[in-house]
């Protein structure tokens, strides 16, 4: 239950470090926290440690040092505690083929609820609702390998939704999708968020993120090097470039116009087409 004012923080990684058995230190003293109802994006290049961090959120990986708290409660790493945290925190994996293992869509979506030990009727209801939410009704009896990439992704999301999590963690949800498919997924996440699910995504798609995320963390080589609102984070161009990321295309264009062509745009640069349009129109008005 969410009570009081300090429990706004729904997930908190407190100074965690993690090394893989082969010695690779994937996370170094990471602090990461998310408040109830937010959409938070974890931005970082390949190999930065995004997937590793996410696997900590539902207790799949256990930090070497530091603590993970969900709803202010530290994760308890026994059978019961893990089941509890996995009901609250659902992870959608990057590659849907790693997640969809059942012979049919319906059975796959039912997998989580069945493991939660729900009544068959309740399972059926949840499968139906989850498929409705991701707009995949009518595919219950289809095998996953007859679906497109975007459809697989949506079914993978439904498989998590059916467990009614409070937090949904999505590892690169738009990777491998066409622009339309990627945009549909993000719209879906936005809608789910409005219905009250807290959402954490990882990505390196800097063009889409500012449209949706309330806050951004930047991770590079296992360390969080920046956090804040999209506006604040992207204002720090050196850090962004230092982490092998780039500005959103639109911000980049405005930057070039300012620096190379001396068009007097002020920082912070606009991050979305909408903002940029407004600023350009303002500029044109000023000139008149």
């Amino acid at each position: 239950m969410i009570t009081g004012s300090d429990s706004m923080e729904i997930i908190n990684a407190d100074n965690i470090s993690y090394s893989y058995p082969d010695g690779t230190q994937a996370l170094k003293n990471v602090n990461f926290s998310v408040e109830t109802g937010e959409i938070v994006a974890l931005l970082g290049p390949n190999g930065a440690g995004k997937s590793t961090l996410f696997l900590h959120f539902n207790g799949i990986l256990r930090p070497e040092s530091g603590k993970i708290k969900v709803n202010s409660q530290p994760i308890v790493y026994d059978k019961k505690g893990l089941m509890e945290v996995r009901k609250k925190v659902g992870i959608v994996f990057q590659n849907p083929d790693d997640q969809l293992f059942a012979p049919t869509v319906g059975e796959d979506v039912a997998f989580g609820p069945m493991n939660m030990g729900l009544e068959l009727q309740e399972v059926e209801k949840r499968v139906k609702e989850a498929l409705e939410k991701v707009d995949m009704v009518g595919y219950e009896k289809k095998p996953p390998h007859h679906l497109s990439g975007g459809q697989k992704k949506r079914v993978a999301i439904a498989g998590i939704l059916a467990m009614n999590p409070e937090i949904m963690v999505l590892d690169e949800p738009t990777s491998g999708l066409d622009p339309k498919g990627a945009s549909l997924i993000l719209q879906l996440l936005y809608k789910l968020n409005e219905e009250g699910i807290t959402i954490i995504i990882s990505t390196h798609d800097v063009d889409l993120v500012p449209l949706y995320a309330d806050r951004i963390y930047i991770i590079s080589e296992g360390k969080i090097i920046k956090k804040g609102t999209p506006r604040n984070v992207f204002a720090d161009i050196n850090t962004i470039r230092g982490a092998n990321l780039r500005l959103p295309r639109i911000a980049h264009l405005i930057e070039i116009l300012q620096k190379e062509d001396n068009v007097p745009f002020e920082k912070p640069y606009p991050l979305t087409i909408g903002e940029a349009r407004k600023r350009v129109l303002e500029h044109l008005d000023d000139k008149k």
């Binding site: 059978k79 590659n95 997998f111």
Partner: protein, 258 residues
């Protein structure tokens, strides 16, 4: 081929019929076909199933023939073989070369085997072309097939298609770089492909395990299944039909073509 058969299983004119009914029908008919002592009933069964597949399930004739061609060929060889070598009574025709002699009872036996085979394969074709594997697995479970077997089959079934796709991509990638020009290179490329697939199946296994854990997996896959109830009418129809076939088996027990 697997892909084609598989996609019909999920999409055919009979897909809305309760799978248990289809399975029941296929198995009882298969048994009748096996216990028939003359070729008549199995051939009727084969013909009936052909009609069902063609007119009701709307399976194209080419797919049906593809499925049946190998057993048919095998059956015909079997007739020839048995006619020549399985006779014990007096000779029927002397072929006049290689001292080969055809026997009547050999021929009759061969024909019986042929018809039983076609009957049984038809039942299997019916099942495979109209019923998804997931349904078969589910039924296997209710027949007390050990859970470990059905679980492994379930995972295998799904990932065969994933690996098929990956193998195809890798094969194309190798072909693009002339990996299959010449026998030696072909062998080397194929070896690489197979070992790579093996490693991938290993890492994929890891990834799947993580994602299953995330959804609360704790050692056994609980399959969720919705099926409409078994109606009384279809069961009666099957019983009626099978009784007719059995009567046919009884009435034609003495029948021999020659």
């Amino acid at each position: 081929m697997v892909n084609i058969l598989e996609s019909y299983a999920y999409n055919n004119g009979l897909k809305n019929i309760n799978p248990q009914i289809k399975i029941l029908f296929a198995f009882i008919t298969l048994i009748v076909s096996l216990i028939a002592v003359s070729p008549v009933v199995p051939l009727i069964i084969a013909f009936f199933i052909f009609l069902l597949l063609f007119f009701e399930a709307k399976i194209p004739i080419s797919v049906y023939l593809k499925f049946m061609s190998i057993p048919l060929l095998f059956g015909v060889f079997n007739i020839i073989f048995m006619t020549l070598f399985f006779g014990i009574s007096e000779p029927w025709v002397n072929l006049g070369f290689l001292n080969l002699i055809a026997y009547k009872d050999g021929f009759n036996l061969g024909l019986l085997v042929f018809s039983r085979m076609i009957g049984c394969v038809s039942c299997m074709a019916f099942l495979i072309l109209t019923t998804p594997v997931s349904e078969l697995l589910f039924l296997a479970e209710s027949f007390k097939v050990p859970k470990i077997v059905t679980e492994i089959s379930l995972l295998m079934y799904r990932y065969i298609f994933v690996f098929l796709e990956e193998a195809r991509t890798m094969y194309h990638a190798q072909e693009t770089r002339c990996g299959y020009s010449g026998i030696k290179k072909s062998l080397k490329s194929l070896g690489l492909l197979i070992s790579n697939l093996f490693i991938r199946s290993w890492t994929r296994g890891d990834a799947i395990y993580l994602s299953m854990q995330s959804r609360g997996y704790n050692g056994s896959i609980k399959v969720f299944h919705t099926n409409n109830k078994l109606g009384f009418k279809p069961i009666l129809m099957i019983l009626f039909f099978e009784s007719l076939l059995l009567l046919g088996v009884y009435l034609t027990r003495e029948f021999q073509l020659i």
